[in-house]
């Protein structure tokens, strides 16, 4: 606790320094939620992002000499606070933003193009935003809820022995009753039609504090599998209720936001066998984590507790920040090395990321994530994830890398993007525009 205070003091002094907008500093606004029902999951995410910024400053001296600064703003997962934070921080030279919440993403999707600030929504947000020709300023890197839903069905099919074995089976979706929870439904319905399984939708009123009826329904319907689409406290409560109603946890599959330590730690043995998707690895082995421990935590600059470093959400936050930093670096390659990048330039950088395995190894991310490369048409960059299983004390990977089925995904994304473009009267981008 004392250590937390110390690190908080030091980190905020850094932030206070960020107030003075000096010439050669790249500013990153950090929208976080360290309070409220989603805080247990939001905190490691935010800590991962901050630690990576500190690492780049401490180890590399910034991006080609441009120091990184940041300022945190507490949103509590509320849309209007998120909008207020955005308005306050965008004036400080923000060149990109990660809202950390689906609701805030929807609100900022309207404002970001006007303010020319790209939105980085790794693994969440609008699934249709993968189509960069319509959504110029949204970047759902590494996955969306449609890819997640598709990959989970693939894994279930694997477990059953083939897609044809899915016919007649029942799959229940226990979801957070909000746009976040409802987003996977189009993909699941499409798959349900294709593969012949019955999709049962069971909503849990946000924030998911009492789920007895949902799990009684699960017991009534006796689905063969349950997909858990929750965030924050809903996940651990769901696992506890699953235990209390005797639903086998091995048959439960969660999205990558329902598969982190805060969700299962206090259920412990009760969650043994629970599976969830993961976009990245966890643990303290990767080189970049070791670097963070060496350059940041050992110097007393760590944002959160040391044993949180390397946890699932921490690593994911770190990846988000790494992608932001690499986007700035890429933008600098085109627009001027050693200069501060604007939102438009960083947007180009995000659209032209090419992180192959060699580059990832050089950055210290070997084994953490798969290679990623974005383009004008594809703002996602990579559609791979793995399934991990909780053994009572830690997560272990229990599947190979799964890739979302582009044959199903692409037409759905295009249709949704076209609909959005028609509603908002946006025209698809031209090839010339892609070069800018």
């Amino acid at each position: 606790m004392r250590r937390q205070w110390l690190t908080m003091i030091l980190s905020v002094m850094l932030a206070a320094g960020a107030q003075a907008q000096q010439a050669k500093e790249q500013f990153f606004p950090l929208l976080v939620y360290r309070t409220g029902p989603y805080a247990p999951n939001g905190t490691p995410w935010a800590n991962g992002k901050q630690d990576y910024i500190k690492l780049i400053n401490a180890r590399d001296g910034g991006i080609n000499g441009v120091k990184l600064t940041f300022e945190e703003c507490e949103t509590g997962y509320a849309t209007d606070k998120g909008v207020e934070c955005y308005e306050r921080l965008k004036g400080k030279g923000a060149s990109m933003i990660d809202p950390q919440a689906t609701g805030i993403t929807f609100a900022l999707t309207e404002k970001a193009p006007v303010d020319k600030i790209p939105l980085l929504t790794l693994g969440y947000g609008l699934s249709a935003a993968q189509d960069g020709n319509v959504f110029k300023w949204n970047f759902p890197l590494m996955g969306s809820y449609w890819t997640a839903a598709d990959m989970l069905i693939q894994q279930i099919a694997k477990k059953e022995g083939g897609f044809d074995k899915l016919k007649g089976k029942k799959i229940a979706l226990v979801y957070h009753d909000s746009p976040f929870g409802k987003e996977p439904m189009p993909m699941l319905e499409e798959r349900s039609k294709m593969n012949g399984f019955e999709l049962i939708k069971i909503p849990v009123t946000a924030p998911g504090v009492e789920q007895k009826s949902a799990w009684l329904q699960v017991r009534q319907q006796r689905p063969d599998y349950v997909l858990l689409w929750g965030w924050g406290v809903m996940n651990s409560t769901a696992l506890k209720e699953a235990q209390a109603t005797g639903y086998p946890r091995e048959k439960m599959y969660g999205v990558w936001w329902a598969g982190a330590e805060p969700d299962v730690k206090d259920v412990g043995e009760g969650a043994k066998g629970y599976n969830a998707l993961n976009l990245n690895s966890s643990g303290q082995a990767p080189k970049v984590i070791q670097d963070i421990l060496k350059y940041v935590h050992d110097k007393g600059q760590g944002t959160g507790p040391k044993d949180e470093v390397g946890s699932v959400l921490y690593t994911r936050g770190m990846i988000i920040q790494m992608l932001s930093v690499e986007a700035v670096r890429r933008a600098q390659e085109r627009f001027g090395k050693g200069k501060v990048m604007t939102g438009e330039q960083v947007r180009w950088g995000l659209e032209n990321l090419a992180l192959d395995q060699k580059k990832l190894d050089a950055l210290g991310f070997a084994g953490v994530m798969r290679p990623l490369s974005t383009s004008c048409a594809d703002h996602m960059g990579s559609t791979w994830a793995r399934v991990q299983t909780w053994d009572g004390t830690k997560w272990n990977f229990s599947s190979d890398w799964l890739e979302a089925d582009t044959a199903i995904l692409k037409p759905m994304v295009k249709a949704a993007a076209d609909k959005y473009a028609a509603d908002k009267k946006i025209t698809r981008r031209t090839p010339e525009d892609c070069q800018s």
Binding site: P37, A39, T205, L216, Q220, G232, S236, K240, A244, D266
Partner: protein
């Protein structure tokens, strides 16, 4: 049929757990005429105190690492904290808001909610914490011979419901049979009259808020053990509000009966009516159910009839 009985039993037990929280509301309203919107925050605060003390006591005094001892001590410490909170509330806020309108007091308790939320998270942290009082987590299946598949009963809920019943019985006894209980009821009736016959108002209020704090602690331990202790525990109070108004703001048996009715109504509606409407209806259904009862009996099932002097 078996599933219907399962749902029924599940609803009854959930209802008892709601009553636990509703009790806190009723107690404070009965004795001080204040509708304590901060009850949910008090439940959370008490649960946080218990969870963290249980974690910290073995660290502070390694000799007391035995989980049972740690839990008992943590409970006692948490109770002490709640009594302190009660004293603070009475001295700093309630005594200065004597005889204000109901809505002013309601708003004061809402302000108190914000304060308690912030204080709890500052002192104890905002992660998910564990309360382990040895409640069994796995369910038990009964009557397998009568019904195919048997009826599933959650053991944790069963024990919690029993604890709630015992607590309610004790409280009812306290209010009816002891002198302090009578004094509390006198204060609930009319502050000024009670004061004029010599009942010390501030002491009574401290006692009432402490008892409500104790109830909040028990509710917090039970719910915290079930759901884990973190911020949204205070939102369970929103589910207990229909219980309070259904049973009547001034009646302890009302809180129980109301709890059972709301619990059963909620679960049955969600399971049987829910799928027709797409699900997720239980929270507003509980309120609508309470509303319908109120239309027939505007003071709740067991509440005191509202008498107006014109």
């Amino acid at each position: 049929m078996a599933f219907f009985i399962e749902t029924l039993i599940g609803g009854l037990m959930a209802g008892m757990l709601y009553s636990l929280i509703a009790l806190g509301f009723v107690l404070i309203y009965k004795a001080s005429g204040v509708f304590n919107f901060a009850q949910g925050a008090m439940v959370l605060f008490a649960a946080l105190a218990m969870a963290r003390f249980a974690e910290w006591i073995p660290q502070w005094v390694p000799a007391l690492a035995n989980p049972i001892v740690a839990n008992v001590l943590a409970f006692a410490l948490a109770l002490g904290v709640m009594v302190l909170v009660a004293i603070a509330v009475e001295k700093l806020a309630l005594s200065r808001l004597v005889n204000q309108e109901g809505i002013t007091l309601l708003m004061a308790t809402l302000g108190f909610t914000y304060f308690l939320d912030g204080l709890g998270q500052t002192l104890f942290g905002n992660d998910i914490y564990k309360i382990d009082v040895g409640m069994p987590k796995d369910p038990v299946i009964v009557a397998e011979s009568l019904f195919q598949g048997g009826i599933l009963i959650s053991k944790e809920d069963l024990y919690s419901a029993l604890i709630a019943t015992v607590l309610v019985a004790l409280l009812a006894l306290f209010f009816q049979k002891t002198a302090t209980g009578r004094a509390l009821r006198a204060v609930a009736d009319d502050h000024q009259a009670a004061q004029s016959i010599g009942i010390p108002l501030s002491t009574i209020w401290i006692i009432v808020w402490s008892v409500a704090g104790f109830v909040a602690l028990v509710a917090g331990v039970i719910w915290g053990s079930k759901l884990g202790v973190q911020f949204s525990l205070s939102l369970v109070a929103l589910k207990a509000l229909p219980v309070v108004i259904l049973g009547g703001l001034t009646s302890i048996p009302g809180a129980i009966v109301g709890g059972l009715v709301i619990g059963v109504g909620e679960k049955l509606s969600e399971i049987y009516i829910g799928p027709m409407l797409g699900g997720g209806i239980e929270i507003w259904f509980a309120y609508v159910l309470a509303l319908l009862f109120l239309l027939v009996r505007p003071q709740g099932l067991f509440g005191e009839k509202i008498i107006d002097r014109v």
